[in-house]
Amino acid sequence: MITNFFEGIGAYAMLMSKVFRRPDRWIIFYRALLQEIRLLGLDSIGIVAILSVFMGAVVTIQTALNLSDPLIPAYYIAIATRESITLEFSPTVISLILAGKVGSNIASSLGTMRVSEQIDALEVMGVNSASFLILPKIVAQLLFNPILIILSIALGLWGGYMVGGALGLISFSDTLIGYRMEFMPFYTFYALIKTVAYAFIIGSISAYCGYTVKGGAVEVGVASTNAVVRSCLAIILANYVLTDLILNA
């Protein structure tokens, strides 16, 4: 098992060394990139929006219930909501959701191409199939996931604002005061650093699982599951490492 793990790491590193090469034709790369941004990014806006609004609402309710003390100003609820959403919920939870949605998509599409010999066809033509197929997917996520996370933070805060006010847990004005108070722009930057790291993890691990499939439809399904599980584990691990390095340094 340990040998398999290190063999896997080696194969992953070798695949990435093939991926990060100059594209044969830039125009074809840009076309593929736009297509991947639509498929992996724009098509994820809906799920990210719904999750973020409800996540913000739930965080506000739970924070309000835990801070229901007359000595604690109400706007503290909004501060806690803001920090929770910015630091953890939007970058990490949304990335975990994207690992499921986008990761399975990448692994199954590449796996299907592998078992139907489409990747072999590219190789026979002289195309660097790894770079041609995987690079646009990774770059699309590196570019678009930060946009998704910014959107998620904004919608999460809006969800908290609306639900907190509507349920009478915190007034609209106190929420706005809390959201603005002691705002640290670095926390948003930290969230984006984590998002970029997670985007690379999702893109590269899922692509590795799909690209290296051997067998048929069953193996494509297994690869898709592996892509999600491994991406999620790697995100959790990276979350710990990055938090310790950036915030605890």
Binding site: D24, I28, S116, E117, A121, V124, G126
Partner: protein, 252 residues
């Protein structure tokens, strides 16, 4: 000319190719025949460079595949066309886009020249009017023709086909065989076809190589295959009732 010298290939404990030597005849249709599991597909993919041989060498003209630089190998690949068993068409692209793909990637043609080339190749494989359809919308026979069209779009020197008529009805299979034969002669390509279809052997086999259990057992022409005295070839060729009757008729 493609020469294969002493090729061995092993996957784990499974020795698939066990020292094969073949000289493929330039400008002709070379057929590799044998039962399923005899090593034909691995042999073809090794010649193409998709698998590296454990021992032996593959010669394209004066050059050895394993000793070529990456750049030279990339250039060589543009001289190769491959028709995969399942077609291996890019299912997100239309028929015309599939055929055009190698031109977009590697040629310096203008858009107009590419359009003309795609149109010519589609006409040549009798696919007129299908350019906007997607692989999932066309029949198996048409998919094979698209695959052939894509393979010849760059005007290759070498054409490889892995069981090009598997899964097709006999009539369509003959059409595909004849198309491969015509294109081989028309474009003076060296064609190597993997098959276990005896009709293909008799129809287009200018040069036939028989494989069994990873060995080359016999080679000759389509005219010689029916008269071969090799026990393995006889067993393979005359397995069906039809060919037993053919043998009986030949011996009369």
């Amino acid at each position: 000319m493609i020469q294969v010298k002493g090729i061995h290939k092993q996957f784990g404990d499974n020795q698939v190719l066990k020292g094969i030597d073949v000289d493929f005849i330039p400008g002709k249709t070379n057929l590799i025949i044998g039962r399923s599991g005899s090593g034909k597909t691995v042999f073809l993919k090794t010649i193409l460079g998709l698998y590296d041989p454990d021992q032996g060498s593959i010669h394209y003209g004066d050059e050895i595949l394993g000793q070529m630089t990456k750049e030279r190998r990339k250039l060589l690949r543009q001289e190769l066309g491959m028709v995969f068993q399942g077609g291996a068409l890019f299912d997100s692209m239309s028929v015309a886009a599939n055929i055009r793909f190698p031109l977009d990637m590697f040629s310096n043609m203008t858009e107009h020249q590419k359009d003309e080339r795609v149109s010519f190749v589609m006409d040549r494989v009798r696919l007129q009017g299908s350019g906007d359809m997607f692989p999932a919308e066309i029949s198996g026979g048409m998919q094979k023709r698209v695959s052939i069209a894509r393979a010849i779009s760059m005007n290759p020197k070498y054409l490889f086909c892995d069981e090009p008529n598997s899964g097709l009805d006999p009539e369509t299979a003959i059409v595909i065989d004849q198309l491969i034969q015509e294109l081989t002669h028309e474009f003076n390509m060296t064609t190597i076809v993997n098959t276990h279809d005896m009709n293909s052997v008799l129809e287009i086999g200018d040069h036939v190589v028989f494989m069994k259990d990873g060995y080359k057992v016999w080679e000759g022409t389509n005219n010689e295959v029916l008269g071969s005295t090799n026990a393995d070839v006889e067993e393979y060729v005359f397995k069906s009732k039809l060919f037993k009757q053919v043998r009986a008729a030949l011996r009369k």
